[in-house]
């Protein structure tokens, strides 16, 4: 059942917090309560909460774009590489090519959107499976990032660039504000615009959408371009947060973005998913990682625990969903 269908039934708050979103939010809440009981103030301290939210905000931004792609029934495994290349381009623009900060940032963003658009073009024009097209782009973007940097990190970045990742507005770190703004925009786009509703329609029944006059290919290219753009925003924010652009950045982040989206209730077969759910999914991953650190769990066990909790979280939500039906 698509989020669109859910929202039509529920309306109001339910329009934003779909049934899937509520279920997974309860899982997040339960994790937070369990951690509070286990480690108390260590988890609830303002500095720790800000650190956790800032940490997952980068994945959250990635998950916003990924969610739209998954709703169409596609997948984009190039976002980690696009994340790196966009950050590298922005940093090189500033430090190596002497371009003003804002133009360098725009170049990075444009590169991300372009790579996403190319993904969409390969899928719609060349009829490549999304997995193959984005696998190719994953390799291309990473290769270009290595080539332009020669493998060296790009540092010595100015403060006005670093503000994007390290700054605060009213005490809130900028990456968190970025994530919230982008999520609000994406929710509006998906739920309140014709194109947004068509994105759900394509994922639910592509052929049906095509017959009813939706330009499926054009919307798919747009969605992949938006996914590239969100990867670029996240990558540039990360380069600013660390004060260094790295060709190695973002490796494996695509899997975190996909996991966050699916934990958040999206179906890999398309047609369902919500931005709020994807952000909550990213939050679950962030809180989980933080919890394992605070609980002094050895790194050798952390991967195993993360895998178990991801499966348990989605399974619990699914069970709740089945009972609801």
């Amino acid at each position: 059942m698509s989020q669109q269908t859910n929202t039509k039934k529920s309306g109001g708050i339910g329009r934003i917090l779909s049934i899937n979103g509520v279920g997974i939010f309860l899982v997040l809440l339960a994790m937070c309560i369990a951690l509070t009981i286990a480690v108390g103030n260590k988890f609830l301290s303002a500095s720790n909460i800000i650190s956790v939210v800032r940490q997952f905000s980068f994945y959250g931004i990635l998950a916003i774009g990924m969610c739209m792609v998954i709703i169409t029934g596609g997948i984009d495994i190039s976002v980690g590489s696009v994340f790196a290349l966009s950050g590298v381009i922005a940093c090189m623009g500033i430090t190596k090519w002497g371009i003003p900060v804002w133009i360098s940032v725009l170049m990075g963003l444009a590169a991300g959107a372009l790579m996403g658009y190319i993904n969409g073009a390969c899928i719609t024009w060349l009829k490549l499976p999304a997995m193959i097209a984005t696998l190719g782009m994953q390799s291309i973007a990473r290769g270009v990032a290595y080539t332009v940097t020669g493998g060296y990190p790009i540092g010595s970045l100015p403060d006005n660039f670093k503000f994007i990742g390290l700054g605060t507005i009213f005490g809130i770190p900028t990456p968190i504000i970025l994530m919230v703004l982008l999520a609000a925009l994406a929710i509006f786009f998906l739920n309140m615009t014709v194109v947004g509703r068509r994105i759900y329609a394509i994922g639910g029944n592509e052929e049906g959408a095509r017959i009813s006059g939706v330009n499926v290919n054009r919307i798919k290219r747009l969605v992949y371009a938006l996914c590239g753009l969100t990867a670029a925003i996240s990558g540039i924010a990360m380069a600013a947060r660390l004060g260094v652009g790295q060709s190695t950045a973002g490796q494996g982040y695509e899997m975190d973005a996909i996991a966050a989206t699916v934990i958040g209730g999206a179906s890999l077969s398309g047609g369902s998913g919500s931005i709020i759910g994807a952000i909550i999914g990213a939050a679950i991953m962030g809180v989980l990682r933080n919890g394992l650190v605070l609980l002094d769990v050895s790194a050798y066990w952390q991967q195993t625990v993360i895998g178990i909790v991801i499966i348990a979280a989605v399974a619990l939500d699914n069970l709740r969903h089945v009972q609801h039906k």
């Binding site: 947060r241 260094v244 494996g252 790194a299």
Partner: protein, 314 residues
Amino acid sequence: MKKIISLVLVALMVLMASAVAEGITIAVVPKSLDNAIFLDSQAAAEAKGEELGINIQWTGSPTSDAGMQVQVIEGLIEKQVDGILISCNDADALEDVINRAVEAGIVVGCFDSDSPNSNRAFYCGTDNYAVGKLAAEKMMEIIPEGGKVAILTGVLGAPNLEERIRGFKETVEGTNIEVMPVQTGNDDVQTSVDVVGQYTAANPDLAAWFFDGGWPYFADPDALPEVKAFMENGGHIISVDTCEPMMQYVGMDMVDLLIGQNYPAMGAIGVETLYKIITGAEVDLGDETHYIDTGFELVDKANYEEVWATKTPW
């Protein structure tokens, strides 16, 4: 016309074959092409190759993966290079393909990370256990009163990192230092920065950190407010690696001591040793295990400016 084309092609092939036969080619294979730590080895290997008049081929897998590294070596066997210098992602996984390369007449040496049970001719690099041991000894000097010490590592299971952890743990065993469960940053700068920040903030009684690689210090100092506060409040950090960007942290009192491996020496000595074996020249292969120790450097507040001046800016 066909005859002329055939003759030109044959002539080209003969020329190419003679060119290959004349020049010695040594392939240098780091753990991955995405790890900037190997850039100093690459520069030194290429400089040594130019000095010796041989071809250096810098190649490897895009990421640290033993399976992909096996494929790279298989490709080099097909290409019939004369020598391979490799930093192994996994000692056991690379053993078979190294032996196959040796059977194919290729001289293989290891650098940085060894495959000791293979038929490689030598290993040049750091004694990683000794690095961990040294870090532990220095830690006991820095915090004679003892206390809780956390360890940050990279990818779990990497033999060199595990050896450093083992060296550290075994040396402090039975002392007043309590080693906390190992934390990982997965070789990722952001993850390392976040893990160190969160763990430090959550453990106010932490006395010190041992980073068995310098990942957090690849970030800008502004990205590490927790580390700065930790050091200002009497905490201590000893880190492995002495890359150029890390030097500033010594000057800013954000790390007590850096223990660096000699990556340029690994590249240069590795290539030169392979060249000598290939050409039949006399060669010193170190001890009975054919281990050539490239040593390590210590950097602290007293000498960091001097060492920094010798580093190639990143």
